[in-house]
């Protein structure tokens, strides 16, 4: 069997029809996972009873189980007992599981970054008369962001790649378009090679952005 180069190139526009869905799922999940991750990190940083213990269990559970199994438990398992999940589109189901799963990673990135800021910075803020919140958003967060960015960008790269598993529950992403097409043509090699190239380019862009961002932030001080 020979490699049909023409077919290979013709796959790109077909696969890219799923690009908006992939990007939307990844983008929305990114926002949610950062917000949830921040809240979890705060529970743990401030030692809030009960919530802290729940957070530890949450993080451990989502980091130590396969994403695909989490997705199945939610989309097929919980759907058996919950009408809301049963009626949910695969688009939103995917976003919910991705958000929870990657919130666990994000919270660890964020918590580590906050802990890396010297306790003296906090005291200095209070000592000149700033409130706790003013100190957090004017002093602590700007310093923590620099530390958190590399880890969070890594987590985002993994999140982006994980969207490629979600066609299994019916998400119409790039993989889904490739699968539909190659199931008819049987030209799997050309089709999935094209998928790899597209992901490779996107992830390289994310990685380039990450290094630019790090360089920019290191220059600040």
């Amino acid at each position: 069997m020979n490699f049909d180069i023409e077919y290979f190139f013709s796959m790109f526009p077909i696969i890219l029809s799923g690009f908006p869905t992939t990007v939307e799922v990844a983008g929305v999940s990114l926002v949610f996972s950062v917000i949830i991750g921040f809240i979890i990190a705060a529970f743990r940083y401030y030692n809030i009873p009960v919530l802290k213990q729940l957070s530890i269990v949450f993080v451990s559970f989502f980091r130590s189980t396969p994403f695909i199994a989490q997705l199945f438990v939610f989309y097929y398992g919980i759907a058996q007992v919950s009408r809301i999940v049963r009626n949910m589109s695969s688009f939103w189901a995917t976003i919910i599981v991705l958000s929870l799963s990657f919130a666990a990673y994000m919270s660890e990135d964020i918590r580590g970054a906050i802990m890396s800021v010297d306790k003296g910075q906090f005291e200095a803020g209070l000592s000149i008369g700033l409130s706790t919140w003013q100190t957090i958003y004017r002093i602590i967060i700007p310093q923590a962001v620099r530390v958190a960015i590399p880890g969070m960008m890594n987590s985002f790269a993994n999140l982006f790649k994980s969207t490629s598993l979600c066609f299994i529950v019916g998400l119409k992403d790039m993989i889904a378009y490739c699968k539909n097409e190659t199931n008819v043509s049987f030209r799997y090699l050309e089709g999935y090679m094209a998928v790899l190239i597209i992901y490779w380019i996107i992830l390289s862009l994310i990685s380039y952005l990450q290094s630019r961002l790090e360089k920019y932030m290191n220059k600040a001080y």
């Binding site: 005291e123 209070l126 000149i128 008369g129 004017r138 310093q143 001080y221």
Partner: protein, 244 residues
Amino acid sequence: MLKIEGLKKSFDSLQVLKGIDLTVEKGQVVSIIGPSGAGKSTLLRCINYLEKPTEGTITIGDVILKSGHNRYKKVSALRRKTAMVFQNYNLFKNKTALQNIMEPMIMCQGMNLKEAEDKAMEILTSIGLKDKRDVYPAHMSGGQQQRVGIGRAMAVNPEVMLFDEPTSSLDPELVNEVLEVIRALASKHTMTLLIVTHEMRFAKEVSDRIVFMEDGLIVQEGTPEEIFNSMNPRIQRFVGSVSV
């Protein structure tokens, strides 16, 4: 005027301050000396409310703060009347020298940017660091950082300025430039200065009074002459061992 009455502080079962009474007139310069672990830092931190007193009362001007639960407004009022210079500077790492000094003016005194910048430049000039205005702490020497630390405390415009071993982290050759700035402040007698220090010669020359603390208590307070000629053998030993 700063008045401390019956101040006690415990960390769990460890009592660190065992009943401190101290009154300092406005504009006076008081050095606090004593061995490590005496509770000197804890005393300063209570006055700035970085530590919550277990018992006692702190009065600065019209702000009276008792131990127990205090509303944030009260705490904030006390913090506006005090400013702390830390042993390891604790400059805001994400802000330049100028921005460090402007921070209390903008955030706590409601000054506009222009006004705050002018005032901050005045302070930078007075501590001899006009040319470092846009430099981040990471690119300054320890001595320069601590001078900015003092500048930031000046920007709070406090009644009482608290110094916790301001030169202890510095290389010996940088100690003098910092002491020089404190000396200039002391000679004005506009703010009350409370200085925890191991620089005995400096304490002797700059202070109106010296307080000797040990084991959570004030053992003796008096003029520098009185302390340096104390009959108390522990104080004799202490000033003898560290003085230069």
